[in-house]
């Protein structure tokens, strides 16, 4: 039973960066912008998050550094794609390439250092309940934050007027513009929210998952987060299922490697990536007929004044 508990705990931890990054990207895409630079923003968030925490000794400051770093990078993306009407796919790739380089530069001074990982919640009595105690009441704060974030995003998108306007921008920017909504400003804010989430998701890795920074430590999680948004059909609730499913694949293959299942470790490591491809195919195939993607996703909008 202890093993089951340990597996569930590590699945939750492995899923959280995916969930946070995907939630941010979901808001961005709902506003009609496809930001493929999640991986780049995450890795810079990881480097800045670790740096902030290492210099200040505080997890919170580290997380804030990650958020700000991700937001600044996303602002560059917003200036390009919204300000200068540049192709979003190519800009996203540029952001990823730039982010990987920047993180190497920023993180060079921190490689090999360690920090104290984020403290886990401990409520006397509740956390000590056997089996479910640690799973429900003994996680690191980011895990609770990520779930709160999903609920907040759901509430915002479907229960508030600004959320409705944001979705309108994503589905038909011409109509939204004609109704007098500042499409580009709304999209900029959505992109920045996505950047903040990606930065936080990246910072989670060195702050809570592994207490050190290594170059390239996001290892494609940003791309998997992008795939998760498709998997979730752009619905926040389904992101949770998707993220935990992918976390489970990641952790189970690690345990299988540890148990020595006679399959080369590289094949097990490839599983999360192969799973992403298979899931994308299955989801896209099931969606015969109309697509659920925001109708204006990835298209350039230049308002005629």
């Amino acid at each position: 039973m202890e093993l089951v508990e340990a597996i569930i705990l590590s699945v939750l931890a492995a899923s959280t960066p995916l969930l946070i990054a995907a939630t941010g990207e979901l808001v961005t895409e709902r506003a009609g912008v496809l930001n493929l630079g999640v991986e780049g923003m995450m890795i810079v968030g990881a480097a800045c998050g670790f740096g902030g925490a290492w210099l200040s000794g505080s997890t919170i400051i580290g997380a804030l550094c990650g958020i700000i770093a991700g937001m600044l990078l996303s602002l560059v993306f917003a200036m390009m794609t919204l300000g200068l009407a540049v192709n979003q796919v190519a800009s996203g790739l540029a952001l990823t390439i730039l982010g990987i380089g920047l993180s190497g530069l920023i993180g060079a001074g921190f490689v090999g250092e360690r920090i104290t990982p984020a403290p886990h919640l401990h409520i006397p009595g509740l956390t000590d309940i056997p089996l479910i105690g640690r799973i429900l009441f003994g996680e690191d704060p980011f895990i609770y934050l990520s779930l709160a974030l999903v609920v907040a995003v759901w509430g915002f998108l479907y229960r508030t007027r600004p959320g409705l306007v944001l979705r309108a921008c994503g589905d038909n920017h011409v109509s939204a513009h004609a109704l007098g909504y500042p499409v580009l400003r709304i999209r900029t804010l959505a992109v920045m929210f996505g950047g903040a989430c990606a930065g936080l998701a990246g910072a989670y890795l060195p702050l809570a998952y592994t207490p050190f920074f290594i170059p390239g430590m996001t290892a494609g999680r940003g791309w998997i987060a992008l795939a998760l948004v498709v998997f979730a059909s752009w619905l926040p609730g389904r992101l949770v299922i998707g993220a935990y499913l992918f976390g489970a694949v990641t952790i189970l293959q690690l345990h299988a490697q540890g148990a020595g299942v006679g399959i080369p470790s590289q094949f097990m490591s490839a599983l999360p990536y192969l799973a992403t491809v298979i899931v994308l195919v299955l989801i896209s195939r099931a969606r015969t007929g109309g697509s659920t993607a925001p109708a204006a996703l990835g298209t350039v909008f230049v308002p005629d004044r």
Binding site: L84, A94, I97, L105, P215, F267, Y273, V281, R305
Partner: protein, 363 residues
């Protein structure tokens, strides 16, 4: 103050020509600032980066050696991007091509196999790259799965497959446990052009590919179809062009070229299969394709320029202790500026200083 984009009546050809140069200029300025922040003298850093590699014969050859795979991959990618098919997994197709060709080299090692080995390896590499690229293309055409995400995921898979092979079944028994195959036999090696030099036959093949692409795009119906499908999908449908078929075709061609570049790299400059055979050629080639304006000749020039930054980056690391990651930052910034300047071809930028007025303009 507000920046406003105004659509030009027609695309500006002057700006189409100078925009890559403006982008490079802006990048150099940005890099100077970055060097200064890193505490290095910007002028001497720029000289080490961009001028020094051009001054000795060894570096010049090395630039051509590095530019070969970049140009070859970028030519294939440009066909995809022109057709609006987003293959960003060229790195994976490069690795799979290297693996497939190496299989033959490893199998024929120490046998008296003749001169057919190398051509067969190149064919295998190209075929494997094409097949690997067809996976995301088929997922896209048949099931509508985003080719961007699937092609990228397959990069990680290819990387792990290569890692497994050189650590497991193909490892050189006499290699002191290093993850590498044995050195390829002479018949399995791409010959050098000048005795004792580094420049190899791959550079010639690259030039042939550039010429072929120029003919394909400029002189054939297929090339015309590719450009129309990308630029005007509706018109292409009325013209009866099959967009799905072109997605498959451009993916297969770009995969084949990436795979070919992969096996040439392994059988040429590297000489054996090992992890880390590519310093990100497949991703840098994306920048090459855009910097070259998706035009074969432009790509050739852009490939040489980016190869220069690889060599310059290595020399700057040795001479001035500038981290190698600066090269990646440089490449990312360059791509941003290239894309931003390309926007000038279609739009005119205007700064509006007055507060927002309803009566301004014709809108």
């Amino acid at each position: 103050m507000q920046l406003v984009l105004e659509k030009r009546a027609e695309r500006s050809n002057t700006i189409a020509l100078v925009s890559p140069l403006i982008a490079i200029g802006l990048t150099v300025v940005t890099m100077s600032i970055l060097f200064a922040i890193l505490g290095k003298n910007p002028v001497s850093a720029l000289i080490v980066y961009f001028i020094d590699p051009l001054t000795d014969a060894y570096s010049l050859q090395e630039i051509a050696v590095k530019a070969s795979p970049l140009v070859m991959i970028a030519i294939g990618l440009s066909l995809c991007y022109l057709a609006n098919a987003w293959n960003i997994g060229a790195e994976g197709q490069f690795l799979i091509g290297a693996v497939a060709g190496s299989w033959l080299a490893v199998k024929t090692q120490g046998t008296d196999a003749g001169l057919w080995v190398l051509p067969a390896m190149l064919l295998l590499g190209a075929a494997a790259g094409a097949l690997y690229a067809l996976i995301p293309a088929i997922c896209k055409v048949r099931f509508g799965a985003s080719e961007i995400l699937t092609s990228l995921m397959l990069v990680y898979v290819a990387d792990l497959l290569l890692d497994y092979l050189v650590r497991g079944p193909w490892r050189d028994p006499a290699g002191f446990n290093f993850p590498t195959t044995a050195e390829f036999d002479p018949v399995a090696t791409v010959p050098v052009l000048i005795e004792g030099g580094r420049l190899h036959l791959g550079a010639v093949i690259t030039l042939l590919v550039v010429a072929a692409a120029a003919v394909l795009l400029g002189r054939t119906i297929k090339g015309f179809e590719i450009r129309v499908v990308g630029a005007a999908p509706r018109a292409a449908r009325f013209g009866g062009f099959n967009a799905n078929q072109l997605t498959l075709l451009t993916f297969a061609v770009s995969g084949a070229l990436a795979g070919l570049a992969g096996i040439i790299e392994v059988a040429g400059p590297v000489g054996h299969l090992q992890p880390g055979i590519s310093p990100g050629y497949g991703f840098t080639a994306i920048i090459v394709a855009f910097l070259g304006r998706l035009n074969p000749i432009g790509i050739l020039i852009a490939g040489l320029f980016l190869a220069l930054t690889f060599i310059g980056g290595e020399q700057a690391q040795i001479a001035m202790k500038i981290p190698l990651d600066v090269t990646k930052v440089f490449q990312g910034i360059l791509l941003f500026y290239v894309l931003a300047c390309d926007s000038l071809i279609l739009y005119r930028f205007r700064l509006i200083f007055a507060s927002r007025q309803v009566s301004s303009g014709t809108g």
